[in-house]
């Protein structure tokens, strides 16, 4: 199907982003740019910008999609994404702003005085941003597929190309105003459709959502299969088919018998009203009681749900502080107090946003059970407006969510690619605009290719992994670096390597299919529950074992972190508190 209104909305969002960006200042990559911004940006605008960069495909599409698929317990992801800012506020925001380093590798080297640690932190930046970029690409694929039709990979390649070209040409800027605009676009694009759909919903939700039976089609429904799927039919049903069923071309009525069937890609099956919705074989069907459980159920299965819930909470709450593309934004705050006020306001903006994915998840289970059949729950936010609201209203709301979704991919993937290219070109290739552009192109191509490999994994699960790796590396580095005197660079490197390796290996094992149930599934797919303590313990024990590596200037570094600006000397640099900018500083 082709939705011209959605296509126009997507193109408009891309064009507006490019135009606002092109008229603004250069992307904030040098301290001077931050100084310019720091004089002008009030806390509310800054908070909008941080939220705009933070709300990614996972928040806009993924939370609703995963909650529809695995039950309301998946809303813990959203809670964790927001609650992470409380930890960031209380433990990190003001000290990090006061320290004056504007990337995590800068902080690590400045605080602990080790170039080797800087390189380890750079590697972690690339790893985390890479894992975070994949779901953005998949989200773009899903969005373009709903709007234009055709296979998902087209959208992945299109977004990969737009962002890579935009960053490499310097035409897509991460300036504050663009990101702030994107936040307000995103919340309007999800709130307005959600409220309108709540107004048009026809029967009390709770009966269909909490009932014992699997969800049923409330009216005659045509289900489209963009990808080939194996579905499980619970009761024999008379359907109308156009496409391939069990390998044979079919057109017209068919008795779909109880059992499993393979549906070819591009097929359409029309189910009668009142029939239970079949489900993709890989995702077990959930009763209403299981679906409304407040515990996170991996793949819809109830094993070790409490451990899985805590795993997701640890990853999301502690991972939020370790996202490199977000932390950079804190330096547009005027001082430590402004950083705190900004962060508190971000918490309000995020909390307001995350009400709406929950609305979409509930409405999706009631009104769009066909998404369980086609395995397309990640697109619930995109398709629900047209399923529930007919005519012009559905078209307009559909275009609005498509625009909001594309804004989410554009803002987040631009921020991520800038962070990755900046880290790679500055710390590994020796700096310079040319190195930055070449890094952007190389990373863009590699990430797009990798993005094609993970199309079957839920957007939100992919983002959860990026958070798990961040929580197992940068969270202990920041917390111990800010609050613990006896922290040494040897402990920091050990923890970074062990935490980063353990969490990313666990995630990779899950992707290739090791451990599909029981404890292995929980411990590998929600690794934060053991890799975060592992990273903390490694850093603490190694630091205690190497007291001679405590920096000689530790008191001054801690003062630079914690002293309110009002009682500082005019320039901390003069006092040797922090390293002088080299003469070659670009």
């Amino acid at each position: 199907m082709t939705e011209p209104a959605s296509v126009i909305a997507i193109i408009a969002v891309t064009a507006i982003t490019a135009i606002i960006g092109a008229r603004g200042v250069r992307v904030a990559r040098t301290p001077a740019d931050f100084l310019v911004a720091a004089r002008q940006v009030p806390a509310t605008l800054n908070a909008s910008a941080i939220s705009g960069e933070y709300l990614s495909a996972a928040s806009f599409l993924g939370v609703a999609g995963l909650a529809m698929l695995e039950g309301l317990g998946a809303l813990w992801y959203a809670v964790g994404y927001a609650a992470g800012y409380l930890v960031l506020l209380a433990a990190v925001a003001a000290p990090l702003r006061r320290f004056g380093a504007y990337t995590i590798p800068d902080f690590a080297e400045g605080r602990l005085g080790s170039p080797a640690l800087r390189r380890a932190a750079t590697a972690a930046v690339i790893l985390i941003c890479g894992f975070y970029l994949l779901p953005q690409l998949k989200g773009a694929g899903v969005t373009l597929q709903v709007a234009v039709g055709g296979p998902v990979w087209i959208g992945v390649v299109v977004l990969g190309a737009i962002v890579t070209f935009g960053i490499a040409s310097g035409g897509m800027k991460g300036i504050t105003f663009v990101q702030a605009f994107q936040y307000w676009l995103k919340i309007i694009a999800i709130a307005v459709p959600a409220l309108v759909l709540l107004a048009v919903v026809q029967h009390p939700p709770v009966t269909t959502v909490t009932g014992p039976a699997p969800p049923t089609f409330s009216h005659r429904t045509a289900v489209q299969f963009p990808q080939s799927e194996v579905i499980s039919v619970t009761t024999t049903v008379d359907v109308a088919v156009s496409g391939h069923v069990d390998g044979e071309p079919r057109r017209g009525p068919l008795e779909l018998s109880k059992g499993r069937h393979t549906i070819g890609s591009g097929s359409t099956i029309t189910f009668p009203a009142g029939s239970p919705a079949p489900h993709v074989e890989a995702n077990p069907i959930m009763t209403g009681a299981a679906w409304t459980s407040p515990l996170l159920q991996l793949g819809g299965r109830p094993d070790h749900a409490l451990a899985a819930t805590y795993g997701v909470l640890l990853a999301t709450v502690l991972g939020a502080m370790g996202l490199p593309h977000i932390l950079v934004r804190f330096y547009t705050n005027r001082d430590g107090q402004a950083a705190r006020r900004t962060t508190a306001f971000v918490l309000l903006l995020l909390g307001s946003f995350y009400i709406f994915p929950a609305v979409f998840a509930v409405l999706g289970r009631m009104e769009a059970p066909g998404l369980y059949t086609s395995g397309q729950t990640d697109s619930v936010v995109l398709v629900l407006p047209r399923i529930m609201a007919g005519g012009m209203l559905g078209v307009v709301l559909g275009a609005l969510v498509a625009a909001g979704a594309f804004a989410a991919f554009l803002s987040t993937s631009s921020g991520l690619l800038i962070s990755m290219s900046g880290a790679l070109s500055h710390d590994i290739m020796g700096g310079g605009v040319r190195a930055f552009r070449m890094s952007a192109i190389a990373i863009g191509i590699v990430m797009t290719a990798l993005g094609l490999a993970v199309l079957n994994i839920s957007i939100n699960v992919l983002v959860g992994w990026a958070f798990a790796i961040a929580a197992s590396t940068f969270c202990p580095l920041l917390l111990l670096g800010i609050w613990w005197r006896r922290f040494t660079w040897i402990g920091a490197i050990g923890g970074l390597i062990l935490g980063g390796l353990a969490s990313s290996v666990a995630v990779l094992l899950t992707i290739v299919g090791v451990g599909s149930s029981g404890w292995p599934a929980v411990l590998l797919s929600e690794p934060a529950i053991w890799t975060v303590p592992l990273a903390f313990l490694t850093m603490i024990l190694l630091s205690l074992a190497t007291p001679r590596a405590i920096p000689a200037d530790v008191t001054q570094q801690l003062l630079a972190l914690h002293l309110p600006e009002r009682v500082r000397l005019p320039s901390a640099v003069d006092r040797g508190l922090v390293s002088q900018p080299g003469p070659a500083a670009s």
Binding site: L86, G100, Y102, Y331, D335, Y354, H426, G431, W483
Partner: protein
């Protein structure tokens, strides 16, 4: 430290404050002395700030960790309904955010007050 090699890092600080915000607080020099007194001041500041940090994070931790634990212990809580809607939806779909936001604002005020007290303590010397 690597002074000569790569342009490592520099302090990003508002120009406005650097030129205009020179308050006359003689005692602040003590903070930079590498003697026991400077270290003592730092310890007291970090203790106060760390205390504020813990007092805001503990209630948040309790809120986030206890709800899943209670529903695991009391299964009826997992399927409870309120006003015709699942309790899960009311809490995870919105109800959990206002307390988190309020804790955040409370912390901001508390941290600013602590800093004010610290500055006044320095002035008294």
């Amino acid at each position: 430290m690597t002074a000569g090699q790569t342009p490592t890092r520099q302090v990003v600080r508002s120009q406005a404050r650097r030129t205009g915000g020179r308050s006359s607080t003689p005692a602040r020099d003590d903070l930079y002395e590498p003697d026991a007194y400077g270290r003592e001041l730092l310890t007291s500041l970090m203790r106060a700030q760390g205390g504020a940090c813990v007092t805001v994070l503990l209630p948040a931790l309790a809120l986030l960790a206890l709800y899943p634990l209670l529903t695991a212990i009391f299964p009826w809580l997992a399927t409870a309904q309120l006003l015709g809607l699942p309790l899960t939806l009311l809490i995870l779909g919105g109800g959990i955010y206002p307390p988190l936001v309020l804790l955040g604002y409370w912390y901001v005020r508390r941290a600013e007050r602590l800093e004010q007290q610290f500055v006044e303590l320095l002035k008294e010397r």
